[in-house]
Structure formats: C-alpha cells, structure tokens
C-alpha cells in the first residue's frame, strides 16, 4: 500500500516536472529577430573596374582568380537587295553568323593586380561556354557550337598554358552516346587536376589527354556541381526519390550520398571554413556540410545588396565571393565584376534587425527593404522568404509555432484569418493613433474597413484590386451588383448571349462565382451555411449552362470585339481595374460602359488584396517594424512605384494617380518626376485600336464612384472551393441534380465551417 503511494507520488512529480519543462519550452522564443546576427551575414560589395565586358566564368585557382569575359559580334551575311523590315525581301538566303571572342584575366584573391592574360578570336561555329583552371594553372576552356553542315551540336576543350599560349585541344563529341548532341552543361576540375564534365544525367571525368577515368549516370538530372572545400567534386542531383547532394568518389568509382539540409539549391559553390560546400539559396548564400547542417552566410538584403542583379557568383574558398553584377533595371545598364567581401564584425553597424518573412515576397519589397536600410541607420530589414522550401506554408507555420516568428509577416497566399484568430498579429490602429505621419484618415475608410476584424486592424495592404464586371449601361443600369437572376434575364433577352467570355467553362464560371459569392452562403459567426438553398442551386445550374472544356470549339469562336458588339458576350471580367480601363472599355461598349460588382449578397463593389502585411503581436521591435510598414504605405514610395498593383489605399496617392491620368499638360510631380499626359493606344483583338488620352471629368467621376463604393472584400477559401468543385462534377456530368449536389456540399462545408469556429 505504502509502496503504491510512493510510486504515485513519484509519477505525479514526474508529470509536474514534464509540465514545467514543456511550459518553459513552449514560451521560450519571443521573436525571430534574435535569430539573425547581422555580423555573420553582412558582406560589402567592391567593384573591379579593370575587367570589361560580359563575364562568363570566374574561376579561383591555387593563388589567383581567373575571369573570362566574352564578346559576340553579329556578322550575318545578307543576300544582295535584302532590306530589313521589307516584307517582300526573302529571309531564306540570310546566313546568320556571329563572331565570338573571349578574354581571360587573372587577379589576386582581393581582386587586385588585374592582368589580361590573353584574348582569343574564335573560329567558325565556336562559342566559349565555360572555363576551369587546373592545379598547375593550365586554363581549360569549353567551346560549343552548332555545325550547320552536319547539323550536330559539338563541344571541344581548348587548353592554354599559364602564359596564355595554346597547349592542345580535345574534341568531346566521342564522349556522348548521341553524337548529334554533344553539349556539356558544366565544366570544372578536381584537386588532382582531372577535368570534370556534366551533361544532363552524366558526370564524366577525364584527364588532360582525354582519357576517360570515370563515368557516372544518375536516375534523373544533375542540377549543379562544383568543387567542394577539399577539392572533391560534389553534385546536386534531382532524381525520382528527390533531390540529394552526392560527392564523386574517384577511388570507389561512384557517388557517395550525403545528408542534404532542407531548402532549395539554385547553384552549388565551393565551401570554406566549416562548410564543405555553399549554395545559392535565392535570398543569399548558405554554407552547408555533409551532415545536413545549413546556415546563412550571406544575406542579400541584410548586406544591402540587390541579389537579383548578382550573377555567376563564385566562392573564392576563403569566405569571400566574386560575381558578375548586371543591373538591367536602370536606364543605363551597369555591368561589372564585383568582389563580395565578408565584413569584419567591427565594420557592421549595430542596428536593430527586423525580419520580414513570408512564403512569397515580391522583388519590389526586397528593393524597398534595401532602400529603407540605406535611408536610415537604426534598423536593418532582413528578408526571410520561405518560397525555397518544398512546403513553404508548412515550414513557416512550423517556425511560427516554434516561436521563430518574423517581426513583419507578409501574408500573400497565407491564411490571414487563421493568424488573426490565433493572436499572431498586432492591432495597427493604436500605432496609427500614436504616429504623427500616418493616420487612419489618410486612407479610404470604406476600403480600410474591409480589412478590419471586430473593429481592429490586424493587417494592411498598400494597394488593392477593384474586381468588377464591365458591361453596357443599357444592360446594367444603375446597379452596383448584378445577381445571377439578372444575368439569366439578360441571357434570355439576348438569345445568343452569355455573360462571360467564349472560353469560359462550367468549371471556370463556377469557380469565379464561388470565389465572389462564398460569403453569401456561409455565416461565419453562427456557422450556418445555405448551400442547400434555391439561390445556390441556381448558381450551380447557371454554371452548368456553360460548355465543358472539350465542348468548346475554338475555331468557331469569333473575336472578342465582335462578341461584345454582337451581344454574344455581355460582360468583361476585370480582376483589377486600372485607370485607363475606363477609357478602354468605354470605347469597347460604344461609350456606354458601366461597371458592376460580381453577384454578391453585399451591396457595393468588392476589393481584393494580394499584398497584405501585419506585425507580429509579440515583436520586441514594434517601432522598427512600424517604421518599415510606414515606408511601404508612404506616399513617396507608392506614388513613385513603377509597379502597377491596382488602386492605392491612401487618398493622397489616389489623387496623385488621378492627376497623372487626367492631366493634359506635362508637369513635374511633388517628387521631381516629369509626368507626360496619357498618350498611347491599346490594341484589342478584332482590329480595334483604342487611343488612351487623359481621362475626362465623367471618366474620372466613374473611378471616384467605384472607389467610394467599395464595401466588401473578396475572400476565398480553398477548402470550401475544393469541396464545391469536387461535388459539382456530378452535376456537370449529369449524374446528380443541382439540389442533390447542393445538399452534399451543405453537409460537407457545414462540418468545415463548424470545425473552424
């Protein structure tokens, strides 16, 4: 008896201890920012101006770095009498030709002491694709080209001595099973001076005399290969069973599989220090080892570098990198060789790190983060983009639950409502109230209201899309929404007319209507659904009146403009109304255009938000997070943005936009940008060319009314949508009635809705 008591007490103690351990473990991490140490991921960019031209290869050797640049000149031979642009001139006898040349430079690992070693004018078909340098500084260049006579793609290796003198050549055609396509994708060399070629699914190792030493074939294809830290060859292999990292074992004559860490590998690079190899991970460079450990060593945004402009990045093996910088966005292209130098911790500014995370982060956010980082010295935005993982949302949620939460969460394609329901996000209204620069009144209140949850603003988006139907005023009248019954009436009126475009199918119409009308059939507050209603059955029947994909005869369909003019298509679906659309569709509908909201129980127009952002409710960096969010909401950023995201949430940005599209004279805006009056044209199929000129007062008023009429937000739910589409199949194939299908949808969706309450 007493023994039992002791055991019971011991068990209780163990339970208590486990509770304490788990409780402390669960609340351990409070913010992702602590996970990022700027001192570990910061690099400085140094340009090496002595190297000119398009950089093709950067190759570190024992004590020097070799860089190859290529040039290509169009030397096409045109037949006599040929005139470019003249449709009567025959193009048959044109001999398209390019004269290719390349240059090889050497420099030390600091990018200093740059010397042009040699240049080579290539003959006939050849182009220089890749280069590697052997341990004795022999330079091996890979040439490839298409032979018009034999119609074969050929490859060869040209060897050069350290002084640039030719030291032999070697045709690679014989190494291929298919001699008509001897194309080598990648060239490198190992520590023993063997030359390694990669072609699709093969790695072929040869010596400098061309003797084949090893041939390995994978069950898929090889993504990338490089020399690892110790000079062995390592490859990222994509096979049926998944992606893996394998090293080439010259002794065992085979691959050795390693443990690969999770995450994308865009390109493999030589490792250094603790890292056996490095990978281009999209948002920077990660170092990895063969035991599956992977760690960020360079973060583009954290280092204020525009990663999208950095190409051909190569690890120098000492923790520094060299790359080809090509800025294609500027009015004038900038291209140069750069060295990315690991910054000494003492050089890195002591800034508060703000992590901006999401599963899809667009390029513009990255650019703005860099601009923001450069504009002040208090905060440093670091981007954490989960898109490189196999299951981005799953990986991000796992991190969130582990307490590794970004300070700012980009909720594009993420379940915002669930995050709000779980208390992940902070109410932004109190931040606005305290702020002198951004106020609630700066935004369109009717639009802002659609983002609220119980009077609180847990998310915000700088812009939104006005999702509407364009049609004729004769058909729409003064309605702000059109219902399915109205559409059916109109279709009765115009015998051949259908509301949506000729290529709409049963499935696409149902999907469109569902995504706009979902809230009409679900009451999220009470959990009641009405998919068994007459209204839903009517919607199903309406979608069923369209054709299936197989039934559409694309050859018989007349063009878009004729369809609209002949009332075969009554409406045009506008996913995101732009200012110019008012003018375009006015012309299309014979100056009688009207815009109407999709069928919905709610009066007014619907808004769609694709770039919703929120701040983590427990972030220790509220001020920094709000500062960056304010930057994304600022008039300066939105008015000067070159991207079109739809309508701005800010009133002053909207007024700036209105000025841009209505002004009949050239003017300089508040940010010093010269704005020209609208003057271009839209070519619409069916030979309709619509000139776009500055909008008139009536057109401006249409846009103002549409913005003022926004009353609700389109919410889509992939689970409900999936159930509806699955069940509707039985209706579309004639197996069940709309009522029966509605009943089953009601049954299944009710479970879903009640489960989430």
């Amino acid at each position: 008896m007493r023994k039992n008591k002791v055991l019971t007490k011991a068990l209780s103690l163990l339970l208590c201890a486990s509770m304490v351990v788990s409780a402390t473990g669960c609340g351990k991490k409070k913010g992702g920012s602590n996970e990022v140490d700027l001192k570990e991921i910061s690099y400085a960019m140094e340009t090496i101006d002595e190297v000119k031209g398009r950089i093709s290869t950067i190759e570190p050797a024992k004590d020097l770095i070799y860089v190859a640049t290529t040039e290509s000149e169009d030397v096409t031979e045109y037949p006599e009498g040929y005139e470019e642009g003249d449709p009567t001139s025959s193009t048959e006898d044109i001999e398209y030709k390019y004269s290719n040349s390349f240059r090889v430079y050497s420099m030390n690992s600091e990018g200093k002491d740059v010397k042009e070693l040699f240049s080579e004018q290539l003959e006939d078909i050849w182009g220089m694709d890749d280069m590697t340098v052997l341990p004795d500084n022999t330079i091996v260049c890979l040439y490839s080209g298409y032979n018009d006579e034999t119609e074969f793609t050929e490859s060869m290796l040209q060897l050069f001595g350290p002084d640039g003198k030719k030291a032999g050549s070697l045709s690679l055609n014989d190494f291929f099973d298919d001699p008509s396509y001897a194309y080598v994708q990648d060239l490198t060399s190992d520590k023993d001076g063997n030359i390694v070629l990669q072609a699709d699914d093969k790695i072929i190792v040869i010596d400098r005399e061309g003797k084949e030493l090893l041939r390995l074939t994978v069950n898929g294809y090889i993504n990338s290969m490089c020399r690892d830290r110790d000079g062995k060859i390592v490859a990222c292999v994509n096979e049926e069973e998944g992606v893996s990292v394998k090293t080439v074992d010259m002794t065992a004559k085979g691959f050795t599989k390693t443990t690969m860490a999770e995450g994308t590998i865009n390109r493999m690079l030589t490792g250094f220090g603790d890292y056996e190899y490095c990978v281009d991970a999209g948002q920077g460079i990660d170092g990895a080892d063969y035991n599956g450990n992977r760690k960020a060593v360079l973060n583009w945004v954290g280092s204020n570098l525009e990663g999208q402009y950095i190409n051909q990045i190569t690890s120098l093996g000492d923790g520094n990198f060299m790359a080809y910088y090509f800025d294609y966005d500027e009015n004038e292209e900038t291209e140069t060789l750069i060295r990315l130098r690991k910054m000494d911790p003492s050089e890195v500014e002591n800034r508060q790190v703000i992590v901006y995370g999401g599963t899809y982060i667009n390029e513009e956010i990255t650019k703005e983060a860099i601009k923001f980082n450069r504009s002040q010295s208090q905060y440093q935005i670091v981007i954490r983009d989960y898109s490189s993982f196999d299951d981005p949302e799953g990986k991000m949620n796992a991190d969130l639950l582990a307490g590794d939460v970004p300070d700012i969460i980009d909720m594009a394609w993420l379940p915002e409502e669930k995050y709000i329901g779980k208390g992940l996000l902070m109410d932004l209204y109190p931040l606005m109230e305290k702020d002198n620069e951004v106020k609630k009144e700066d935004f369109f209140e009717n639009v802002l209201k659609t983002l609220e949850t119980n009077g609180k603003l847990y998310r915000i988006a700088p812009t939104y899309q006005l999702t509407l139907l364009a049609g004729s005023k004769d058909d729409i009248g003064d309605k702000t929404n059109i219902q399915i019954a109205d559409i059916m009436e109109l279709e009765k009126k115009y015998k051949d007319g259908k509301a949506f475009s000729f290529d709409s199918t049963k499935g696409t119409v149902l999907s469109t209507l569902c995504s706009n009308m979902l809230d009409s059939f679900v009451d999220w507050d009470t959990g009641k659904c009405s998919f068994d209603s007459e209204e839903f059955a009517q919607m199903l029947e309406y979608a069923n009146s369209y054709k299936t994909e197989e039934e559409i005869n694309y050859d018989e369909i007349s063009d878009f403009v004729s369809n609209i003019r002949e009332k075969k298509q009554l409406f045009v679906e506008l996913w995101s109304l732009s200012y110019e659309d008012v003018e375009l569709y006015d012309a299309l509908y014979d100056h009688k255009v009207a815009f109407v909201g999709y069928p919905s129980r709610e009066e007014g127009y619907g808004a769609r938000f694709t770039n919703v952002i929120g701040i983590y409710s427990k972030t220790p960096n509220v001020e920094g997070s709000w500062a960056f969010l304010k930057h994304l909401l600022s008039r300066e950023y939105l008015s000067s943005s070159e991207y079109d995201h739809g309508m701005p949430l800010r009133k002053d940005v909207f007024e700036d936009d209105i000025k841009k599209v209505t002004s009949t004279k050239t003017y300089t805006d508040d940010f010093g940008v010269e704005r020209q009056p609208l003057d271009f044209s839209y070519g619409v199929s069916g030979d309709l060319e619509v000139p776009i000129k500055p909008l008139n007062k009536d057109q401006e008023q249409i846009i103002r009314d549409l913005v003022a009429g926004v009353s609700h937000r389109f919410s889509s739910d992939s689970d409900i949508q999936g159930i509806i589409e699955e069940e509707a199949g039985a209706l579309f194939s004639g197996q069940k009635s709309a009522k029966d299908v509605g009943g089953i949808i009601q049954n299944r969706v009710s479970t879903y809705v009640n489960e989430t309450r």
Binding site: M19, S22, K422, Y752
Partner: protein
Amino acid sequence: MSMKQGKFNFRKKLRSLPKRWRRRILSMSFLLPSMVGVGLFFIIPFGVVAYFSMVDSPFNPSFAGFSNYARLLENSAFLNAAKNTAIFALTAVPLAVILSLLMAIILEQNIPLRSTFRTFFLTPLMVPTASIVLIWQVFFHINGSINEMLLFFGHDKIDWFKSSASYFVIQILFLWKNLGYNMILFMAALNDIPTELLEVADLDGAGSWQKFWSIKIRYLSPTILFVALMSLVNSFKVFREVYLLTGDYPYDTLYMLQHFMNNTFKSLDYQKLSAAAVIMFLVMMVIIWFLFFFEDRFGKDLEG
C-alpha cells in the same frame, strides 16, 4: 585519491541503507531507461498537450483555464466527430469480437477446406491500405460495380460515400480488414484450453452451450480483452481508410475524431486539438478501465 574516497563512501552509504531501500534503488536503476523513454516520448509530450489545452493561442499564449474545453464541448463539429467515433467503436468493436470468435469456433471444427478458409480470412491483412481504398472505390463509387449491380436488378444508384449508407461501407471495410487477425488470436486461445477440463465436463454431462459459457469463455477472457482493445485501437485507425476514400471533410456520418484533430492541426488550432486529445485520453482511460474490470471479474478464478 579523492575519487577512490568518494566511491568508497558511496558504497558504504549504499550498504548502510536498509535492504528494502537497496532493492528499491536497484530496481529503479533497471527501470530508469524505460522511465526516461516513457517520460521523453509519452509523459512530456502529454504535458505539452495539456499545456496547449489551457492557453488561448499557440503564438501568443496566455492562460485560458478550461475555456478551450468549454468551447470544444459546444463545437458541433467536435460533438459530431465524437458521436460518430463512439457509435463506430460501440458497434464495430463488439461485431469484430463476436464475429471473429464465431469464425474461430467454426474453423476449429473439422470442416472441409479449413486451412483455405483461414488463409482467405487473413488475406486482407496483407493488402496495403492504398490498394484497399482502390478496391473499395471500385466497388462503392457512384459508378462502381455495386451500383451497376443495383441498376441491373432495377434499383436506383446509392451514393455510398456521400449518404448515410457510408457508415455501413466503413463498417464492412473495418470488419473485412480485422476479422482475420482476431480470428487467429481466438483460434490460438481456443487451442490453449485444457482438453482434460472439457473431457471432464463431457463426463459430467455438460452441454455444448454450458461448456462454451462456463469453460471456454472463461479461458478466453484475456484474449477477448486483448482482441477488444486491439479492435478499439483499430477502430480509431479506420480514419486512414476514410481519409483516403473521402478526404479532409467527408460526408458528416464519416467525420471522425481523427478528422477533427488532423484538420485542427493543419489550421494551427493547437489549443482546440490539445483539448480534444485530453478529452479523448480521459474517455479511453475509462473504457480501458472498464475492460480490465470486466476481465478481472470474469477471469480472476483462472489467474489464481
């Protein structure tokens, strides 16, 4: 030197303890690896689950008392899942026990093709779940072979997976998959019953029913308990087949507790999931206690 001193002291200290304590320490040291394993993989995770069931959010946790339990008990999806799971277990488990026992008794008799039947009933065990699902879809899909047969005999099609008939489809699937294994267990247990006892009963003029009820059932009671427990566990596992056949949100009669848990896990509703898990644990404890209680009552005279 100091190490030696320490070792000596420890031994001395150990020897100075009463024998009862020394034995306890010895047995605890043998038990320790298991206790660490159980603690690490069962008790601590259970502690985490209990913790999550009493906070209001996994991201921003603050103590919420029993409010998650109260909300859960008002959640119609949970109540429906609990009801379906309970009904399924209450019907499928007794059927699985009774039918397999019956089959074992029949196959124990000297009937022709005895071993063929035994193999036949065991084959479902060897079929992978994905194949079972495929077979069931071929049979019970709205355009499946069963409906084709119904049409042939002039009956309307039945939407087996999306109507109240779905419950029977799953019952049949469960029994088809589990009867063979249970039957083998019962056959082994029947073979273990002492034949002398049955011969004595025959001499005493006991009828077949008397022998079955007074001897066989008593000897079978630990096996019945085991088969019932296994069937109970397997009845929860039927989710796997239901999920593969009908997805996350099936027709409401097929919506089981595991659907609820799986879906709430996916939607990060950890507090609801944890509260459901704790409730399920408590209910299971009660059921298992009852099973042990009955087994104890029935079989105590056999265990000595």
